[in-house]
């Protein structure tokens, strides 16, 4: 029963917060893992962990509307998503799927309707999760992306400085030199996988800087993020072993508690606070004792790590895929490099690295001729809104000088609009400026490998061959 579980989560959070002063956070999470294991043995799991085995997805036109299930985590990988969402936009723009592996949910697929839901935080709650499924039982961390105002506003404002434009001005040169280093190290004239070598590497370095995380351990940030966003129960991803996620959470708690205490000690010794995330949290009255609220502490760090990881990474890869599908655009870009900022928006629209955000109706709401009942899950499919032909002309085409590219929904709209949008744009702009300086041809050789997820729209393998400028 959801209410019972919710109560259990609440009690659990309170117990954890109350004991956090005496028990180290990573020990608490290890304790939780044991507790959850025992609870499952005694009462059975709250719900079975879904396991996803890939099979060929049928042509959407052979299905009855009610059987269309866009939560299928292979829809993107099998390149069926455009046809599925087009049918929903045209025939059932507010669509109910009652039997998905994640439970029943509504899909909102037109630009205008998504905008309405995203803006209406009084009608649709972002709590307790913004992903379609549930996180591993017992790991219901709290993050401000999944909080409603006013609590959301307080927490967001305490951390947004880390990616505020003022901070970014300081970072631009650092980002440029790192991007240059990575690009200069790439093999020429032979295929290599762009994803780990460029996209993951650059986003990992950025994350380490934002968090002032030990640089040589930055791969950990990427691994935590990948597993957290890739949980089978949450997004249909490939990670079904929930035990590992508890270990990750404990590991994360340990690393970040250590980082927090170190900074606290350095500040107490008179060191000037930095512009990294933890220093900012410690400088703000509302969050300076965040470490005593472990589920919130872990939650908000997770949010910033996941938020800065899959998104930018897959836009870095997606831009290359787009350029190769629409090769005339590269010629256009070479002739007019000043199009880069607009092209960056177009890449983010075309790729839509996160497919959706979820809400829960706070009351009965009429939308698109349907009645969404209080308590129903509502998924705003940004990936569909960005391809809505009612809003964008030739929406499936990648057009770097598209006039309204900036109107894309990939950052969401309303109070939860992406906080790191300017940083993401900056990273992508610099990447393309530096690419143009160095390479004449960037060919994608072979079909890209796409990840299994209904949430992350990304690439695990993208084989690329570079020809330097002569």
């Amino acid at each position: 029963m959801p209410t019972l579980s919710k109560t259990f989560d609440d009690i659990q959070s309170r117990v954890i917060n109350a004991t956090s002063r005496v028990v180290p956070m990573h020990r608490q999470i290890q304790g939780l893992k044991l507790l959850m294991g025992a609870k499952k043995k005694a009462f059975g799991p709250r719900r079975p962990v879904p396991e996803f085995v890939e099979s060929a997805i049928p042509d959407v036109n052979t299905l009855a509307l009610e059987d269309i299930d866009v939560s299928n985590p292979f829809l993107y990988r099998q390149d069926q998503w455009r046809a599925y969402f087009k049918r929903l936009r045209d025939e059932a723009p507010v669509h109910y799927q009652k039997n998905s592996p994640f439970g029943p949910f509504w899909s909102v697929t037109r630009f205008e309707d998504i905008m309405f839901v995203d803006k209406s935080h009084d009608l649709f709650s972002a709590e307790p999760q913004i992903i379609l499924g549930d996180p591993p039982e017992g790991l219901s961390v709290e993050m401000f992306i999944a909080m409603d105002p006013p609590k959301h506003d307080v927490q967001r404002s305490s951390v947004q400085g880390v990616v505020a434009p003022k901070n970014l001005k300081e970072m631009e040169e650092l980002i440029r030199s790192r991007t240059g280093d990575v690009l200069d190290s790439l093999p020429l004239g032979q295929p290599f996988n762009w994803v780990p070598t460029v996209s993951k590497e650059l986003t990992g370095r950025m994350l380490a800087t934002l968090l002032d995380f030990p640089y040589e351990e930055r791969h950990k940030l990427v691994e935590w993020s990948d597993r957290m966003a890739g949980a089978a129960s949450a997004t249909g991803g490939e990670f079904a072993d929930e035990e590992i996620m508890f270990d990750d959470a404990a590991d994360m708690a340990w690393s970040f508690s250590k980082l927090w205490r170190d900074k606290e000690a350095r500040r107490a010794a008179g060191e000037e606070p930095g512009f990294d995330l933890i220093s900012l949290l410690q400088s703000n009255d509302d969050t300076k004792d965040l470490i005593n609220r472990p589920m919130e502490f872990i939650g908000n760090l997770t949010l910033l790590i996941v938020g800065g990881n899959d998104t930018t990474r897959n836009s870095m890869s997606g831009g290359l895929v787009a350029m190769n599908e629409f090769p005339k655009e590269l010629e256009k870009l070479k002739a007019k490099p000043e199009l880069i900022p607009n092209m960056v928006s177009e890449i983010i629209r075309w790729q839509t690295p996160l497919a959706y955000m979820r809400r829960v109706a706070k009351q009965d709401v009429e939308l698109g001729g349907q009645t969404i009942k209080k308590g129903d899950r509502v998924v705003m499919w940004y990936a569909s809104g960005n391809r809505d032909e009612r809003k964008f002309e030739d929406p499936d085409h990648f057009i770097i000088d598209r006039k309204d590219a900036r109107n894309h929904m990939s950052f969401g709209y309303g109070v939860h609009r992406c906080m790191g949008n300017r940083l993401a744009e900056l990273q992508l702009r610099i990447l393309w400026e530096e690419i143009l300086k160095r390479f004449d041809k960037i060919e994608v050789v072979g079909e890209p490998e796409r990840v299994q997820s209904n949430f992350v729209r990304g690439y695990s393998e993208l084989m690329v061959q570079l020809t330097p400028k002569s």
């Binding site: 905008m115 995203d118 803006k119 105002p149 506003d153 967001r156 404002s157 947004q160 400085g161 505020a164 434009p165 003022k166 309204d404 900036r406 109107n407 950052f411 709209y413 309303g414 109070v415 609009r417 949008n421 300017r422």
Partner: protein, 106 residues
């Protein structure tokens, strides 16, 4: 018809003509004024058309509504006369108005 002056953060001035009924954001976008993005197209949903109205004119533009207030509260450059350009509908009374642009749109 009337005129409105946009002053960028580096003090560059841009004068644009307007017809009553348009919004400050729309006028800026139509005239390619740098420093105003208007990403959501006028839905009060992105906060990228932030302007700071000169004190003398703030009485004419009025104060922000609830939704607008919420979006403005997320920008660090919030000032006491901040408005979202998309929510300020221009009237003939605003002929000659001056608005300042923040250093960044969030």
């Amino acid at each position: 018809m009337g005129k409105i002056t946009f002053i960028e953060h580096d003090q560059t001035e841009h004068v644009a003509e307007f017809k009553a009924g348009s919004s400050v954001m729309q006028i800026a976008v139509d005239n390619l004024i740098p420093g105003i993005d208007g990403d959501c197209g006028g839905e009060c949903a992105c906060g990228t058309c932030h302007v700071i109205v000169s004190d003398d004119w703030f009485r004419k533009t009025g104060t922000p509504g609830g939704e607008e207030e919420q979006m403005l509260s997320m920008t660090p450059e919030r000032a006491s006369t901040s408005r979202l350009g998309c929510q300020v509908v221009i009237t003939d009374e605003m002929d000659g108005m001056t608005v300042h642009l923040p250093e960044f749109q969030m």
